[in-house]
Subunit: 572 residues, 2 copies
């Protein structure tokens, strides 16, 4: 049986555009003689459409697009994710066949944890559903439906499905793709069914979808894989008889089968002879997997490109300090958009060292990006004069440091306002975690490319990118210099923060795993650092709440993934 997986980069709200993307891939799947073509979860609306789902006219527009697409489904069965408005709203898969909407499947398991809010919008479907295509029984599932080992997946297999199709929008974090592939392999073995996973690809605000569509046979062997972080149409030949034959030998599930079948809806039998008889071998192209850090880097590139393109920006601007964070952001931006769409701005103060200024210039030149230089001292002096009276008798402190950062933020935003450029901010997760950033200063901008990247990973990602070229665009001194905000003479980050190795370990435990003070100390982290970092993380919540969106790449990102109160007296 020939199946096409359309790993689509659907745009949220762009129903007309998504319809065109779907029709194009549907035509290509027909041309390549597929009998079944899959499109991701909510492919018609993009994922997640959030409160657009509360608009009746939005739901009606999505339905109308599905009806139009159906006309193209001739000689092929198409399964397409859309929000179905019926007696309630369902996260559904439309089955298109013979030029019409033949049936729908409704997602059973609605995730409402982490970044997910599906119970806010959807009613659960009643259970599994299967359809027959040219004699092969195919079970339908949507995303979360296969993350639980039981029904509807197991019911569908027990009802005879030897191929389980899963259409998905599975948000990325580092390593998620491999984890997902292993889970699918286990499901295949447990149910003696081929698993066909069609994933969404692309960036959507804070979420990134890695694509990584994959087909595993009933023994858990990967027989086809689409690339990570790119659109693709993956065409694969699956042997539907192999799983059935295996079930004759392996009858563990038989006792459960009769009950299970009762809960499964039969959606009908369809002929889609386009590809019948053409498949001799099984399998399809198997894209190689990226190494862990290269995977994250590629994700940041796609997430940045999609935020910029989907929001209609022509150009981005980055403040280059000569430090490692803004270096990584500039590298990602140049890879995402081309250096010709990147303006770098260096804004030296009297505290900036010649070394960082020179490094910023060298980096921009090596990348081939435009560089502007604007000294901030005149604004510093104007503010100092204006504030001399209210500040009389007070020593300089963080206030004056913050003003430098805010002057730089203002200059970048002025360029943004004047020329329509998007400002990319450069704060990393370690700094934003402990509030080592200036609100309306270095955090001012439209998109926070590396806000979920811990400082130690920042270095690794720069190294991965540097190693790609024979001559790295990154001056060695950027990597070697001790991190400093350069907001006062001879400042170093580790004057005020624990070493980044310690800081990142505490943050990972506290933020990603909800560990408390005692558990962190029991892991060998210094009690004093643990207590201080926890306190700083809690206190900085008000700042993070006003940060621009950025790409989630860890198991728990600040933002929609970690929802904590600002007003909060709990310690630890």
């Amino acid at each position: 049986m020939r199946i096409a997986l359309a790993q689509l980069n659907a745009v949220v709200g762009d129903i007309a555009g998504n319809e065109q993307r779907i029709r194009k891939q549907l035509a290509e799947a027909r041309r390549r003689a597929a009998q079944l073509v899959l499109f991701p979860e909510l492919a018609v609306t993009g994922y997640p459409p959030e409160d657009l789902l509360l608009k009746e006219h939005f739901l009606a527009d999505a339905r109308a697009a599905v009806e139009r697409i159906a006309a193209d489904a001739v000689g092929i069965v198409a399964v397409i994710g859309f929000p179905e408005r019926a007696e309630d709203v369902f996260n559904a898969a439309a089955v298109l066949a013979d030029g019409a909407v033949a049936a729908t499947y409704r997602k059973v398991h609605l995730p409402n944890y982490g970044v997910f809010d599906e119970v806010r919008y959807f009613q659960s479907g009643p259970g599994g559903a299967v359809l027959e295509i040219d004699g092969t029984t195919v079970g339908l599932t949507i995303c979360e439906d296969v993350w639980q080992p039981g029904p509807p997946l197991s019911d569908e297999a027990l009802a005879g499905a030897t191929v389980i199709a899963n259409i998905s929008a599975s948000p990325y974090h580092a390593g998620k793709g491999v984890e997902r592939e292993r889970m699918l392999a286990q499901r295949a073995r447990d149910n003696l069914a081929a698993m066909v996973f069609c994933g969404l690809v692309g960036g959507q605000d804070e979420l990134l979808f890695d694509g990584h569509s994959v087909v595993v046979d009933h023994e858990g062997v990967v027989i086809a894989r689409a690339p990570q972080f790119a659109e693709a149409l993956l065409v694969v030949d699956v042997d539907p008889l192999a799983a059935g034959a295996a079930r004759l030998r392996d009858t563990r599930q038989r006792p459960a089968a009769r009950d299970a079948r009762a809960g499964v809806t039969h959606l009908g039998s369809f002929a889609a002879r386009a590809g019948a008889g053409t498949a001799t071998d099984v399998g399809g192209p198997v894209a190689p997997l990226l190494d862990p850090d290269a995977e994250v880097y590629a994700g940041l590139v796609l997430g940045t490109r999609d935020y910029v393109e989907k929001n209609g920006f022509e150009r981005v601007v980055v403040g280059l300090s000569g430090g490692i964070d803004s270096t990584l952001v500039a590298l990602v931006a140049a890879d995402a958009l081309g250096a010709g769409r990147l303006t770098c701005v260096t804004m030296p103060s009297p505290y900036s060292s010649p070394g960082t200024l020179g490094d910023a210039r060298a980096l921009a030149a090596n990348l081939g990006a435009e560089l502007l230089e604007i000294a901030i001292e005149p604004m510093m002096r104007a503010y100092d004069t204006a504030l001399a009276e209210p500040f009389a008798g007070r020593e300089p402190d963080l206030t004056e440091e913050n003003l430098q950062a805010r002057i730089r933020g203002n200059l970048l935003m002025a360029l943004s306002n004047k020329f329509g450029w998007l400002v990319l901010t450069t704060g990393n997760k370690s700094e934003l975690g402990v509030g080592y950033s200036t609100l309306y200063g270095d955090s001012a901008g439209g998109f926070a490319v590396i806000k979920d990247v811990p400082k130690q990973m920042v270095y690794r990602l720069v190294a991965v990118r540097s190693a790609r070229d024979d001559h790295s665009p990154v001056p060695a001194s950027i990597v070697e210099r001790a991190p400093s905000a350069e907001l006062r003479p001879d400042q170093r980050d580790d004057d005020s923060l624990p070493a980044y190795a310690v800081l990142d370990a505490i943050l990972e435990g506290y933020v990603e795993h909800d560990l408390g003070r005692d558990q962190l100390v029991a892991r060998g982290l210094p009690a004093e650092d643990v207590e201080r970092v926890i306190r700083l993380v809690d206190l900085a919540e008000y700042k993070r709440r006003q940060n621009p969106p950025g790409i989630k790449i860890t198991q728990r990102a600040f933002g929609r993934d970690r929802r904590v109160p600002i007003t909060n007296r709990y310690r630890g």
Copy 2:
């Protein structure tokens, strides 16, 4: 039967503090001879604790506090909301009696719409529960459990409960208290049971809880009411026999009763003779209801006070422009904290009129608040010079207007940094709706007092507050002057926006009721304005996402209440 309703202002995360607040009210309820005392939903942790609920140690700390409080529950039954960690996590009510935790009730209906995310945290309880106190059957419910007319409420009544206790944390919007009281009256009549509603009071980030605890008898008559927006211990005598007697005459529900009883847990019988025999009359104090605009004003005052106090700020600072918005914020701040804790700052530019500057001075003087004056022209000149080269050949535009707003934001933040003051921002819902504000400029600050107040309501609230004193602190010219941002000569808001009456009507329909373009036009709103405003609202989402939190007072606030994507190509 004597019941005490402890309308508590619990602080999120302050388990130790909440324990003390609870014990104090519990002692007072015993002193006043109550047999039953109710505390709000999640009173031990505050509401909503959000992702604190994902920490095992947080749940253990909450449980330990309940165990300690139980020791005080002697001669009285106490019902206290807490998160119960068992085989899963439940939004629960602990029943404390005879010095111990005697039983728990688990919330059945978990709201997961609007501002609510309870399915993210909690498992549903199995159904209704009743207990007997000195021979009277009392049904237990938590918040949402009574917003649905059926079980568990109806089951408990059918199982014999003549008093239904509801402990709640019910987020405020204008008019919600009256709506809730009417709903409770209908539930009382439908079930022939007295409804005893104990509500949380206080501000928590964007949410405000209005208190407004109320007791209605089985005929729907309000027999006691606590004040809105203030802590209170409301003590009321309820006649538990009257509802039972009414059921002898009105037997509509009898056919359903047998099945219902099966679904209800009997938590036990308790003696709490403290108040037995002392009640001769029924009822208790009935606080008057505030008029609609006075209600919102009082809500803003409490919401502001709680954000400031719960986050430990000594003083707040407001930029006074001489316009109506900053006037309202200064009035609210002075009422919330006392004018002695308010610093006003007026920051004139060359475009400021003498009228607005004089009005700002007069308002601060009338309030008795400190006033600082800082002219922004030197900073404007410094930025113009610094940007002369990149801006060469370009006309002045919004960029230079935004810079003025950002200079003011920087000055307020510098005062905040230097002195530890909280900056209150002054944007209203109409402006934030259409993006008529400067990111990092007038929107820079820690708390956005009136971010959910439409412009027309801003005027009404100033009028309500002005009418309270014989001599209003508000100069008449502030109210009479046409609104202007004063960022260029002779600027008026209605140069770039529809009249506020039209704007507010469109925003209400689009934002609060999810109406589309066609529906709004069908309501008689000008098509051109409708299309423009919808577009502006969608485009400004990225700005709102970076705004500080502010108090929800409408049916749908921007923020956690209205969750829309930034990247969104849907129009309408």
